[in-house]
Symmetry: none
Subunit: 209 residues, 4 copies
DNA sequence: TATGAATGAGGTTTCATTCAT
DNA sequence: TATGAATGAAACCTCATTCAT
């Protein structure tokens, strides 16, 4: 590995450290309450250094969201290529959402937030394009599975995009909601049985009779 | 009407004006980007006056969320007391969520946000109590309908609370998600047919065969 | 008593109520931390009313200080006219200072503060004149006693003004200091024996051998 | 000198510059009328920088008072270790008080103010500890000298702590008072002869016959 | 590239004061 | 005369960002 290669890799690692630190801080305090100084401290770097890797606080935050959106898209696409029945694939999607939630409980709310008007308006063209890209990828994969299900006569005969929306939205909504309940009631873990029931109901809704 | 009555009503109106102005500004710019000065301007009042009615910016914001949570709870309870079949009640819930969304498209995301860890930690005991109260009211009403459905042999035989969670979460999730798509694609209205399909699927999931 | 008389007296009473309320609040919180609203509340009046009796917060505060300076001057002059030996008169001065302190423990520090550069610069001509007048009265009375003592061969043969300064300054300083110690050590009452010793020493310093 | 050493020293200097600027502004205008912006301007720094060195305005002000209390304590302790007779030491104390006054004429009043209830209540534990520490040091030194005087049969046979109180309180009181007179009469310097007389009287009071 | 001290714009908030009733 | 809601100027303070080292 040449010196150029090594430098590039170091740079990439540094970037990841910053993202890791930022995720931790943002998760704990939310966007506003988090300060660049705190993130720098967590990353064991100086505030100035953060700006060598990210244009500003907003972009740093957005990157995290895109990263997870990318992860979501990747995981969902992995399911697509697995040798599973339609039903099992749909079940696997559920695990992906729970995984993502376990990774960072604030991510789903951030995702919705990211896509809410307030934030969307302030994003650069480039970032927006990425969000759209990964969003489309993830959604496309789900649509494919749904289509397959319709073709096989397993799913009800509705517009596949709409069905994919239902899947995505309710899966996300359920994770968020069960988390809300957990927080409001000051519990440490959220009740996975409830989650399972919920997902089962959604899947049942998709199925023919 | 006595002078005391009139003063009280005037004060209440002023409060509402501030809330209206705040909702407008917060909706346009989000919590951070909105300034108290802007809200004051919108309410045609001076900045100092806002503080006669609300302790600070945070409380003003939280109030808006509570208000809508209260509205949601009220509307859902109204459905409960209507002379409708279980199935029609569930359908009416859908309208409530869409209504709330039409009233302020940021509200549902705010609701989730409000109940997310970050915000929850900074709320006063009193405010928390209110959130729990209205949350319980709304949820309780839904549970009642679900129970009725189970008793009548219409809904699947699952734990009613879990089923109510599914309803609530997916309804909210779907509205949020369809809104996200709308924003990402720069459309003005979100596609109601998609919504309808989505809600239909959820309801189907709840029903016995 | 005519209606004019009564009105005038009522006005005077209202004034005194405000002063009493202001003294209480200023004593508890100091000038800055005290708000006009708080004083109004304490006086069971509305903020606006305070301004019918005093031009502004500063003047209200100054009035309190002048009032006590006047009280000090009066009490000291009373001693002057009593049929007492020089020594007893000096002893009585001590009681006056303790009285004043008991009346309001912040008054002496306020007095010094009042006469410190910061405050002095912001006072109106009229107020300044009053301060000078009462200050001169009080000081004059002390000088008279001191002079008498020198004439009678009881006090050391120094410039009477300087001796009067010593009396005044150390009496005030001692009360302040013993109060400081009390506060630093979180005691409820300050130690009167210490005070007595202190005053005795000062008097001894004044006396010929 | 290593780079670490230099940085530390620079930081210390910056701190001192801020304190110097603050002293100047506070002396001119008093605590309230002084603004952080003005202090920053005087220190040729930006307002934000002040907050890198002091938590807030209050702390900055308190620091000034502590600094001078420390100086007082130091100077008084220096006298203690000098090879002087008890009488000369007591005389030297007088110079210390005048020195301190010359350094900043507001300091003594601030000291008393600092130790008055109002301010004391708002200080942090740490700051309070420092005040008590230096206060005890200064007072302890004076007590030592007084004890020596009693042992040598020079001072009257009273409780040494009480005598030390007299010394401290009257010395401070006299400086304050003579300054008050100076200000009231719009003189530039205060009359040192008067001061001398005053101090002499106090000392005489302490002495046996 | 990394630092971190310094910046300074701008936000929140307070509160003395006013004025219509 | 008394009210007290409203004012709005002005202060404190924060923190994203810069830049000399």
């Amino acid at each position: 590995m040449g010196i150029y290669e090594r430098k590039k890799r170091e740079k990439e690692n540094r970037r990841k450290e910053i993202l890791r630190a930022a995720r931790k801080v943002f998760s704990n305090k939310g966007f506003n309450a988090s300060t660049m100084e705190e993130i720098a401290l967590q990353a064991e770097l100086s505030p100035g250094t953060l700006y060598l890797y990210f244009k500003n606080k907003e972009e740093l935050h957005t990157f995290l969201s895109i990263e997870i959106l990318k992860y979501l898209a990747d995981e969902i696409q992995k399911v697509l290529s697995q040798d599973l029945s339609v039903e099992n694939k749909i079940e696997r999607f559920q695990d992906v959402f729970i995984d993502v939630y376990d990774y960072d409980s604030n991510i789903l709310i951030n995702l919705f937030h990211l896509q809410s008007g307030e934030t969307l308006r302030n994003l650069s063209e480039d970032v927006l394009k990425q969000i759209k890209k990964y969003s489309a990828l993830a959604h496309g994969a789900i649509i494919d599975v749904v289509k397959q299900g319709i073709d096989e006569g397993i799913f009800i005969d509705e517009h596949p995009v709409a069905l994919a929306d239902v899947l995505w939205a309710s899966y996300a909504g359920i994770v968020l909601w069960v988390d809300s309940k957990r927080l409001l009631n000051d519990q440490k873990d959220f009740v996975k049985p409830t989650l399972k029931t919920a997902f089962r109901v959604i899947r049942k809704g998709l199925k023919k009779e």
